[in-house]
C-alpha cells in the first residue's frame, strides 16, 4: 500500500471539517473494501478519515414506523439485533448472509451502501424497502441514491449517518451465491408494505442494483409465491461472466423471487 495520512475524528463535525480541508481523502468505516484495495494498490488516497471513533453512529432503534440503523452498525450487529429481528426479520437475515464472520464483525451498513458494490446485499434491501439514506447534509430516498456501479448520489464531503427503513408488513430475501466469491450472483429482496409490493435485484444488473419491473408487475396479483411463478425476466441489461450468463441470471431472478416470498416474514 502507498503511504497516507490517517485521521481519526471523534465527531461528525470534525470529520466534515477534515473532508473539507484534506485533499484526496477517503472515509473509512469497516474498511472491508477499502483496506484490501489499498493493500493491492488498486486505489490510493493521501488522507484516510476513519469514522469509527465517532460515538453513537452505530445505534439501532425503532422510531415510529421506521427502523433506524446507524451507519457504523456492523453486519454482525444488525444480524443479531433483537430490534431488527422484530421490525424487519428479513433485514437481519440478509445481514447474517453477508461475507463471513470476520467480515460481518467489521463491515458496516454505511460502508456497504456508500460503496454500492453491484453484488452487495444491502442496496437491494434499501430499494425494496423504500428506505431513506440520511446524510450529514440531507435525506436521500433509496430510489435516487444508487446511481450505477460503485456510484451513488453522495456529494463531496457528504457522510452517511443513518439509514431509515419504513417497517413493512412482510419482507423476504433470497440469494444465490457466486460459488467463488460468495457474493450475490443474484439476490432478490421483496417487500410488501400492505399497499404495494417492491422487488429489488442485486448481483445481476450491469448497472448494479435495480427494481424489477417484471416482478413488481407480477406481485400486483398478490404477495405470494404463485404470483411470480413462471414470470419471464428479461436478460437485457444483466451481467454475463464466467459464473453466470445473462439468461441464467434472468432465470435465477425468478427462482430467488419465489424463494424470497416463501421465506418472507
Amino acid at each position: 500500500m502507498h503511504s497516507f495520512t490517517y485521521h481519526r475524528p471523534v465527531n461528525v463535525k470534525a470529520a466534515q471539517a477534515l473532508l473539507a480541508k484534506a485533499k484526496d481523502a477517503s472515509l473509512l468505516a469497516g474498511g472491508q473494501t477499502l483496506i484490501p484495495s489499498l493493500k493491492l494498490r488498486l486505489t490510493d488516497f493521501d488522507n484516510i478519515v476513519d469514522l469509527k471513533a465517532i460515538k453513537g453512529l452505530d445505534k439501532i432503534e425503532v422510531k415510529g414506523k421506521n427502523l433506524l440503523i446507524g451507519a457504523l452498525a456492523t453486519h454482525g450487529a444488525v444480524a443479531t439485533s433483537a430490534v431488527v429481528k422484530r421490525a424487519i426479520p428479513a433485514l437481519a437475515k440478509l445481514a447474517g448472509m453477508i461475507g463471513d464472520p470476520a467480515v460481518r464483525n467489521v463491515g458496516t451498513i454505511g460502508g456497504s451502501v456508500a460503496n454500492n458494490d453491484p453484488a452487495a446485499d444491502y442496496p437491494g434491501a434499501l430499494l425494496a424497502l423504500n428506505a431513506t439514506v440520511i446524510t450529514s447534509k440531507r435525506k436521500i430516498p433509496a430510489d435516487k441514491f444508487f446511481k450505477g456501479l460503485f456510484e451513488t448520489a453522495l456529494g463531496k464531503g457528504e457522510i452517511i449517518l443513518q439509514v431509515s427503513f419504513p417497517i413493512p408488513k412482510k419482507a423476504g430475501y433470497a440469494k444465490f451465491r457466486n460459488p467463488a466469491s460468495r457474493f450475490a450472483l443474484v439476490g432478490v429482496f421483496v417487500a410488501d408494505d400492505g399497499k404495494t409490493a417492491r422487488a429489488a435485484v442485486t448481483g445481476a444488473g450491469e448497472q448494479g442494483v435495480f427494481r424489477s419491473k417484471e416482478l413488481e408487475a407480477a406481485l400486483k396479483k398478490g404477495f405470494k409465491p404463485e404470483s411470480v411463478a413462471g414470470v419471464k425476466v428479461s436478460a437485457n441489461g444483466l451481467n454475463s461472466d464466467i459464473h453466470a450468463a445473462a439468461d441464467y441470471r434472468a432465470h435465477l431472478i425468478g427462482v430467488m423471487a419465489k424463494r424470497a416470498i416463501e421465506a418472507a416474514a
Partner: protein, 791 residues
C-alpha cells in the same frame, strides 16, 4: 508386526500439529536474516510480447533500491535456464522441443505473470514503488491459450524451436492390435473429454531467501520445496548458481505443496543469484495473485476416447487421443505427467487386451503446467471410468456389473501399457463400497427426492493408481533424468534416543508421526524418543523428496533397510555384552535376549555400550550406532478402490449437493489409519473441487480470468459432505511393510465419481468439469428441449 499404542497401525495423533496449530511452525517467511533485502518481481501484463526495451534508470534511483536486474544481467552472469528433467521423444523418435526458460525474460514474455525484472530494495514497499517506475516497451503479439487451438497454423508461435507450438507427439501401446479390436467390436462408446485446468493453491505461498557468505564462498537457500536436494542439484548442475558442495538448501516447515513445490522456479533462482551479486540476503514471498500467475498449474487435457466392447460387455480395446497443454514453458517434470504418468494407467482395474494412446503436448501462452496431486493418474482414471459408466448406460447394464465383468482377478497382471499390477482385490473394494453406500436403497431415495422436486444421481469410480515412484532403472529407460530411490539414515544416540534423517519431505503429510511410529514398532522405544529430520541438504546427505505418494512405500522402506542394519550391528554388540553368539540374540519389544534364557539388555543399554566402546572388540565392530540406506523400489505400488457418489440436484438452480460419498480404498498395510483417513478426506475434497467448483479460465486473448478467489472457486467445508470411508487390505508384495501409498487416491478417484453421478441425475452425458450450477442448469434446459423436440 504387532500393533501397539504408538506402533504400526495405531491412530497416533500427529506430533507436528501442536506447533502448527499454535503458530509455532517455522516457515520460510518466518526466517529473518541480518541485512536482508526484499525482492519484488515486475511481471508481464501481456500474454505474449517481445520486449523492445526495459528502462530501469528511474527505478534504480528510487529510495532504498539496491538493484534492478533483468535478463540482461542474468545472461551476463551466465546463469543457466530453468529446465525440464524428463526427456520424452515423439513417435518418430525425434526429441521433445524444449524452449529456453530464463529466470528473467530475455527478449520475450510468454504468459501473463512472466518475470520481466526484479527490484531489490530495503523494504518491500520501496521495491514495489520502484517496480512501478520501470518502463518496459513491449510489442504485443497475438496469443493462444486453448490447447486445442495451439497447433492452428495461424496461432501465435511461442518458441522458435517448436513449430506449431508442438513439444512432442508421443504414443504408447499397440496401434494395430487396438484398431483390430475396434473392428471386432459389437459396441463402441465414444466420449469427448476436457480435463479442466487447476491452480494448486497451497495455503502457504511459495517463498525463498537466498544468502551468500563471501568468506567461505558458500550459498544458502531457504525455499518452499518438496525436494530440497533436487532443487540443489538442478540449481548447481544446470543453472550454475552455486557449486553443490558449497550450497545448502533448506526446506523448513512447508504449508502444502500438492506438487506445485516440486519444481524449480525463477523466483528462488533469482533470490540466490542476487544475494551473491549484492552480498546481502535477498528474500521473496509470493503474494496470492502471484501464486495464481506463477505456481505450476495442473491437468488441462483435451481428449477423445473410445472403448470397444463385445456383445457380452467384455472390453476389447481402448483408443485415446489427448492434447496436453504444458503452458508457456516446460516446467521441471511437465513432460512426464501427460505421458508416463497418464497413459500407463489407462487400463484401470480392467483386463483390456489392447490399448493405444496418443498424446500431443503443446505450448500455449499460459502458466506452465506440471504435476498436481495425482499428476496424470486422475486424467487417466477420468477417461476410463467415464467410458465405463457411459458404456453401461448405453448397454443398459448395471455400471457395477459391467465393471465386475472386466475386473482383473489374476495377479501379477501385465497391462498393455507398461504397468505390471502386483496385487489387488477389486471385487472386495466394490462389494464393501456398495454396502456402505447403501446402493440397494438408492431407488427408493431417488423416488423420495423426486417428490421433493429434486434429481438424484449415482456415480462410480473404481480406480487404480501407480504410487511409490519409482524403480530408477525403469523410469530411466522412460526418459527420467533422475533415479527415484530414497535414502534414510538412522542415528542412535548414546542415550538410546533416535534421529531419522530422511530424504522424504513432509509438507502436510505427517511424516514426523508416521515415520516415528515405524521406529517405535521396530526398536520398541517411546515415540517421544524419535525425531524425524528432513528438508536440509546439510543434514540429510541426499534424497529425492515427496510426491507421487512415494514417502510411505519408498521413504519408509529406506528407513526399514537402515533399521535392519542397526539391528544387525546392535545384535553383535549385545552378543559380546551378553557373552553369546550374535546368532542367538533375539530382538523384540526393545530388548536383546539370549534365546531360551532370561539374559537380556534394553535397547538403550546396547546403544550406550556402542558409544562407550569398552566391552566389545572395536577392531572387529566399529564403535557407534549409525546406519544408512539407499532403497530403490522394485516396482510401483498400486493402490486401488471404489468411490461411490450420490448427488441431489436442484433443477430450478442447477445446484448440486453431494448427498453421500463412499470411499473404500486398498492402501495395503496402514501405518496410521487416522492420517490415512485425513489424506483420503483431503484428496476427495480436492477431487470434488475439480469436478464441481475449480476452474482456471483464460480468455481468448490468454488473459487469466480466474486470477483471484473472487473468481477461482476453492472447495469450502459447506460444499462437502461427511465422507463414509472404509478400507480393505491386500499387502503390497514389493516392500517389506506391505504399504502402497495414499496421498493422491482421493484426488484421482473423486472427480469422475462425481461427474458420473451428476450425468446420471440429469440424464445427459454432455456435462464437463466443473459441474457448476450454471453448467448443470444449462444441461437440464438442453435435455428438456431435446425431449420436447422428440415428442
Amino acid at each position: 508386526m504387532t500393533s501397539t499404542v504408538t506402533g504400526i497401525g495405531a491412530a497416533v495423533r500427529r506430533k507436528e500439529d501442536q506447533r502448527f496449530i499454535t503458530g509455532q511452525g517455522h516457515y520460510t517467511d518466518d526466517i529473518r536474516r541480518e541485512g536482508q533485502l526484499h525482492a519484488y518481481f515486475l511481471r508481464s501484463p501481456h500474454p505474449h510480447a517481445t520486449i523492445k526495451k526495459i528502462d530501469t534508470a528511474k527505478a534504480e534511483k528510487m529510495p532504498g533500491v539496491a538493484a534492478v536486474l533483468t535478463g540482461v544481467e542474468l545472461a551476463a552472469d551466465k546463469i543457466g535456464n530453468l529446465i525440464c528433467g524428463w526427456a520424452i521423444s515423439s513417435k518418430d523418435g525425434s526429441p521433445m522441443n524444449m524452449g529456453p526458460h530464463p529466470a528473467l525474460a530475455q527478449g520475450k514474455v510468454r504468459h501473463v505473470g512472466d518475470q520481466v525484472a526484479v527490484v531489490i530494495a530495503e523494504t518491500l514497499n520501496q521495491a514495489k514503488d520502484a517496480a512501478a517506475a520501470i518502463d518496459v516497451d513491449y510489442a504485443v503479439l497475438t496469443a493462444v491459450a486453448d490447447p486445442a487451438k495451439a497447433r492452428d497454423p495461424k496461432a501465435a508461435q511461442i518458441h522458435d524451436n517448436a513449430p506449431k507450438n508442438t513439444i512432442y507427439e508421443w504414443s504408447l501401446g499397440d496401434q494395430a492390435a487396438t484398431d483390430a479390436a475396434f473392428k471386432n467390436a459389437k459396441h463402441v462408446t465414444r466420449l469427448k473429454i476436457i480435463n479442466n485446468r487447476m491452480i494448486p493453491n497451497a495455503i502457504e505461498p511459495r517463498a525463498a531467501i537466498g544468502d551468500y557468505d563471501a568468506g567461505t564462498d558458500s550459498s544458502t537457500l531457504w525455499v518452499t520445496s518438496q525436494n530440497p536436494h533436487v532443487h540443489r542439484l538442478v540449481m548447481a548442475a544446470f543453472m550454475g548458481l552455486a557449486p553443490e558442495n558449497k550450497f545448502r538448501v533448506i526446506a523448513p516447515d512447508v504449508g502444502g505443496g500438492f506438487g506445485s513445490k516440486i519444481f524449480i522456479y525463477a523466483e528462488e533462482s533469482v533470490c540466490l543469484w542476487a544475494a551473491k551479486r549484492l552480498k546481502r540476503p535477498v528474500r521473496w514471498t509470493g503474494e496470492r495473485s502471484e501464486s495464481f500467475q506463477t505456481d505450476a498449474h495442473g491437468r488441462d487435457h483435451v481428449t477423445s476416447a473410445e472403448l470397444a466392447l463385445d456383445a457380452g460387455g467384455k472390453i476389447l480395446g481402448l483408443r485415446v487421443k489427448t492434447i496436453a497443454n504444458l503452458g508457456a514453458y516446460m516446467s521441471t517434470f511437465s513432460s512426464s505427467v501427460p505421458t508416463y504418468l497418464y497413459a500407463t494407467l489407462l487400463s484401470g482395474q480392467y483386463d483390456i487386451p489392447a490399448i493405444y494412446c496418443e498424446v500431443d503436448a503443446v505450448y500455449t501462452n499460459t502458466v506452465p503446467v506440471d504435476a498436481y496431486r495425482g499428476a496424470g493418474r486422475p486424467e487417466a482414471c477420468y477417461v476410463i471410468e467415464r467410458l465405463m459408466e457411459v458404456a453401461a448406460r448405453e448397454l443398459h447394464v448395471d455400471p457395477a456389473e459391467l465393471r465386475r465383468k472386466n475386473f482383473i482377478r489374476k495377479f501379477p497382471h501385465q497391462t498393455p501399457v507398461i504397468m505390471a499390477y502386483d496385487i489387488g482385490d477389486h471385487d472386495a473394494t466394490l462389494k464393501k463400497a456398495l454396502e456402505i453406500a447403501d446402493v440397494k436403497g438408492f431407488g427408493q431415495r431417488k423416488q423420495e427426492a423426486s417428490r421433493r422436486g429434486k434429481l438424484l444421481g449415482l456415480g462410480y469410480s473404481t480406480y487404480i493408481e501407480a504410487c511409490g515412484i519409482a524403480p530408477s532403472a525403469a523410469v530411466g529407460s522412460l526418459g527420467a533424468g533422475v533415479g527415484l530411490w530414497e535414502s534414510a539414515e538412522v542415528r542412535v544416540n548414546p542415550t538410546g534416543s533416535v534421529e531419522i534423517l530422511t530424504g522424504s519431505h513432509s509438507h502436510g503429510q505427517g511424516h514426523e508421526t508416521t515415520f516415528a511410529q515405524l521406529v517405535c514398532e521396530r526398536l520398541g522405544i517411546p515415540i517421544e524418543q524419535v525425531t524425524i529430520v528432513h528438508g536440509d541438504t546439510d543434514k540429510v546427505q541426499f534424497g529425492m523428496g515427496t510426491y507421487g505418494s512415494r514417502s510411505g512405500p519408498v521413504g519408509m522402506t529406506a528407513i526399514v533397510k537402515a533399521l535392519d542394519k542397526i539391528e544387525a550391528k546392535a545384535k553383535k554388540i549385545a552378543g559380546h555384552l551378553l557373552e553369546a553368539s550374535p546368532g542367538d540374540i533375539e530382538f523384540k519389544n526393545g530388548k536383546f535376549t539370549v534365546a531360551g534364557t532370561d539374559k537380556s539388555l534394553a535397547f538403550g543399554e546396547v546403544a550406550l555400550a556402542a558409544y562407550v566402546g569398552h566391552k566389545f572388540p572395536t577392531n572387529e565392530i566399529e564403535p557407534g550406532l549409525k546406519e544408512g540406506s539407499f532403497y530403490d523400489p522394485t516396482n510401483f505400488t498400486f493402490p486401488s478402490g471404489c468411490h461411490i457418489c450420490e448427488v441431489e440436484i436442484d433443477p430450478e438452480t442447477g445446484h448440486t449437493k453431494i448427498a453421500r460419498w463412499t470411499a473404500v480404498d486398498d492402501f495395503g498395510v496402514l501405518i496410521n489409519p487416522m492420517i490415512v483417513e485425513g489424506q483420503v478426506h483431503g484428496g476427495i475434497a480436492q477431487g470434488i473441487g475439480q469436478a464441481l467448483l475449480e476452474n482456471c479460465v483464460y480468455d481468448d486473448d490468454a488473459q487469466l480470468v480466474t486470477g483471484s478467489y473472487m473468481d477461482y472457486t476453492m472447495p469450502r467445508a459447506d460444499d462437502l459432505p461427511s465422507f463414509n470411508v472404509g478400507t480393505t487390505v491386500t499387502k503390497c508384495p514389493s516392500n517389506p511393510l506391505g504399504i502402497k501409498g495414499c496421498g493422491e487416491a482421493g484426488a484421482i478417484a473423486a472427480p469422475v465419481a462425481l461427474i458420473n453421478a451428476v450425468t446420471d441425475a440429469v440424464g445427459s452425458e454432455d456435462i464437463t468439469m466443473p459441474a457448476t450450477a450454471q453448467t448443470v442448469w444449462q444441461a437440464i434446459q438442453k435435455t428438456h428441449r431435446q425431449r420436447k423436440a422428440a415428442e
